[in-house]
Symmetry: C2
Subunit: 216 residues, 2 copies
Amino acid sequence: MEKMFKGKVVCVALNDSEQRQVMAEQFSEPPYKAPPTQPVLYFKPRNTWNNESEAVAWPANSDEFVVGASLAVIIGKTCCRVTEQQALEYVEGVALLHDFSLPETSYYRPDIKGKCLDGSATLSSPVTLSDVGELSDLVVKTTVNGQPAQQLPLSRLYWDVPALLERISHIMTLEAGDIIAVGFAGERIVLQPYDKVSSSLGQSIRLQNTVGGQYA
Amino acid sequence: MEKMFKGKVVCVALNDSEQRQVMAEQFSEPPYKAPPTQPVLYFKPRNTWNNESEAVAWPANSDEFVVGASLAVIIGKTCCRVTEQQALEYVEGVALLHDFSLPETSYYRPDIKGKCLDGSATLSSPVTLSDVGELSDLVVKTTVNGQPAQQLPLSRLYWDVPALLERISHIMTLEAGDIIAVGFAGERIVLQPYDKVSSSLGQSIRLQNTVGGQYA
């Protein structure tokens, strides 16, 4: 089955301004004692890559499973140390990404165990930037079993897409086909076995997944 | 230029028993207040993959650069939720890996900024398990400019190779070509521009890299 993913998949945590406000007290605790000053990143490696047609397996030995939806920016050409002003030139298209994971207990550096579950990342068909218009006018909307579950207006991103591409491309070179999931709404959505998770972005981007059953 | 790397590159931090003893007090501090009970993992993504023939670039905007050497285990076939007893059946070969990075300040979850520098991972030619004999009899030895810098007897690994493969393959499926760098000696080696870093493992495994110059 063809997978939509081709290169690195880099996700950005803690990029919802409202969540950062809610967490202000937690940020003040040791060891960091301050909110993150740079994007908090994690990878979804190859074993996580899945697609819409296959159920997302419930994690073994876990009663908990959560999901978040993000705008996914698809890199179109090698992108190294670019500025915010140049950044969008390196974007080939946009899509939606679902990140299924175990609930996170430590926010500063997402846990590989919780984030790298087999088949826990899915990506919609992409569209071009010009097809979606102004990114900051768009809202990522997610329903579970048809009921509204979460919304993230992209205007709420703490670092917007150009700011992220500047910062991330100074940390590591991005290649054509690499994906940046730019941010998820505050709390991830708590799932039950067999839930249907659907997200939309603008008029044309849709992503739907079905969660598998829990192991007996 | 052909790169030795093909799949996921998963590195294990904090797997030197001596280092864990030295760090006992640090482990007792918040937020964790205990030593890690599972392997501490990090990835070296595609942009980090390099080879012996190219200088390893000094990181931009940094006066500090460090390196560690590890036994690299090369996975030979899909490896999902295996036991320690089965684990070595999934190993196609072994090699040496150099992990160049910024110095780590927080030990529990290695920092993507410090670990994902472009061209910061190199891999030697591999040999088969039977070529090297008993892993726990081997010693990873590293020199810098010909002077002994560090040794890690593999008997000092806190989790040995079968134990790691059991634990990691329960977190994520490993595929043929994936690499596990099983552990690094306590403190990473501090580098200077133009250093030559050479490591050996057993009679037949060698890896050598030259560090580039610092940006003006």
